[in-house]
């Protein structure tokens, strides 16, 4: 299943993201778009994509938007999500975030997750900006 044009697979994922991917990303000048094609393992009992999976995917896109806009690593403090429509298994789902405000410590981010036909999830998040000097320890 080749991703839509211009998307590259995020290969550095481990843990939860790796177990629930693959996820793809396209970087444009002022935006980062993430893409993901859900399979049956991402569905709930109704056969549509699980709300928790959608939440995780949009959260990642919103966090990436912070890095792209501010060059600061960030962790999610608060996320509010409105479930607008179903995410369909087999559709390419896209997610992106937009930094709408920030100071030295926090950033406010709007997020949008959508399929080929309609919006699926709308998000508003507050992200805590990590110190510029601090690097996140990652396990290899």
């Amino acid at each position: 299943m080749p991703p839509p044009p211009g998307f590259r697979q995020l290969t550095e994922s481990i843990g939860f993201a790796a177990a629930n991917g693959p996820w793809f990303e396209r970087i444009e000048k002022h935006r980062v778009i993430r893409a993901f094609k859900p399979g049956p393992q991402h569905a709930n009992a109704l056969g549509i994509v699980h709300g928790g999976m959608l939440a995780a995917f949009l959260d990642s896109a919103m966090g990436t938007a912070v890095w792209h806009a501010l060059e600061r690593r960030a962790v999610t403090l608060r996320l509010s999500l409105d479930y607008i429509g179903p995410g369909r298994v087999g559709d390419w789902l896209m997610a992106e975030g937009q930094v709408v405000g920030h100071d030295e410590h926090v950033a406010q981010v709007r997020g949008r997750l959508y399929g080929p036909r309609h919006d699926v999830l709308a998000g508003l998040g507050v992200f805590s900006l990590l110190s510029r000097r601090r690097t996140i320890k990652t396990r290899s």
Partner: protein
């Protein structure tokens, strides 16, 4: 995928594995993310419905802590399944809104519990607060609004607690 060794789940007394799929050919997301357990305590107590799981490496972020996506998934389930249970609703309840505050991290090996508090059930909406905790420490505060479908609604999803396994292990 992480190659880190699995941690034994060792659910505390009273917890039973939740079988979400009941023989379905493809495991759904609730099964895919790891084994989830539930405990049913006395009605009206804070343990009337408790969901629990052991943090596995596959549930973590690159920094080695429990992934926010896993916390949100479980909180969503506690809101719909647990909140629905407290309200006496045996239907699949689609989530309309969730708000999460990530107040503390959790590590591999931690036993995480989630409890719903029923705020209000109207004819069409269910309002629930949810805390995820590790021991006495709150790690996630969430609030959820679910839609209560009219009529019989959709199939509940067939999830059940597997009580026979506890005796076997």
């Amino acid at each position: 995928m992480s190659s880190a060794p699995l941690v034994q789940d060792r659910p505390p007394e009273g917890f039973h594995r939740i079988d979400f799929d009941r023989g379905r050919p493809d495991p759904t997301f609730n099964t895919h993310i790891g084994t989830l357990y539930a405990k049913r305590g006395e009605k009206g107590t804070r343990d009337e419905f408790v969901m629990g799981f052991r943090v596995q490496p596959s549930m973590c972020n690159p920094a080695g802590g429990l992934h926010g996506g896993m916390m949100m998934t479980v909180a969503d389930l506690v809101g719909a399944m647990g909140g629905g249970t407290l309200a006496g609703i045996r239907k699949f309840l689609p989530t309309v809104n969730m708000t999460f505050d990530f107040v503390a991290p959790a590590q591999v090996g931690d036993w995480v519990e989630g409890r719903p508090e029923l705020v209000r059930a109207t004819r069409s909406l269910l309002f629930t607060n949810i805390y995820l905790t590790v021991g006495e420490t709150k790690i996630l505060r969430a609030s959820s609004i679910c839609k209560i479908p009219s009529g019989d609604g959709l199939d509940y999803g067939k999830a059940r607690l597997v009580r026979e396994e506890a005796k076997a292990s």
